[in-house]
Symmetry: C2
Subunit: 121 residues, 2 copies
């Protein structure tokens, strides 16, 4: 399994790159799923986050999220697992991920009866 994605160090995070990575409904759904479920098998994320796309398209989205510094990937055996770099993000851009995760589904107006957001902030 080749993996040439370079995940940046926290000090190298770029705000505009992080915003661009999150500015896509399917990438945002990926991040929300991983934020809510912790480290997850990549194939499971694609299936359970309701992402109707090919594996290669999902890989492309995952690459953008990893290159921005939002997600990290760990390979164990033949499986890839991904998790949110929440501590790194919170240290570098305090409050940003919390505000985004708490913002409700992308594009939707929050419902009055919606549960509280899943962010830790």
């Amino acid at each position: 399994m080749t993996d040439d994605v370079i995940e940046p160090a926290t000090a190298d995070f770029q705000l505009t790159r992080i915003l661009a990575a999150l500015a896509d409904p399917q990438r945002l759904a990926t991040v929300r799923y991983v934020a809510a479920n912790g480290e997850s098998w990549c194939t499971q994320v694609m299936q359970e986050a309701g992402l109707a796309m090919s594996k290669s398209t999902f890989s492309h989205h995952l690459r953008i999220l990893r290159e921005a510094g939002i997600l990290t990937k760990r390979i164990a055996g033949a499986k890839g697992y991904t998790r949110l770099r929440r501590d790194d993000l919170d240290r570098r851009f305090p409050g940003l991920m919390g505000a985004i995760l708490d913002a409700g589904p992308a594009g939707a107006t929050p419902r009055a009866d919606a549960p509280a957001g899943q962010g830790r902030a």
Copy 2:
């Protein structure tokens, strides 16, 4: 002066659209300038925010920011003025603009001696 830009109502704000609008260093600099200086003459924003671009390119960026709901524009006489829709943004996505405005210059690591951010959050 024609102006066919549609500025969305707060309930119609879309998170991914807002993130995409802010995911550009020059648009982010525009928003930071207006956040720090209040309602500003558009030509002045372009000059003082250090945006080396044509008027038409700046207009294009302004349109993206207005269509996302981040900035609003008021025309008085022959001049256009723009300001941040901070209250609308804070109501719809609590903490988001504060985190972004406090995040330091786009792409740069915050300096230890930097003054506190200009956000109100």
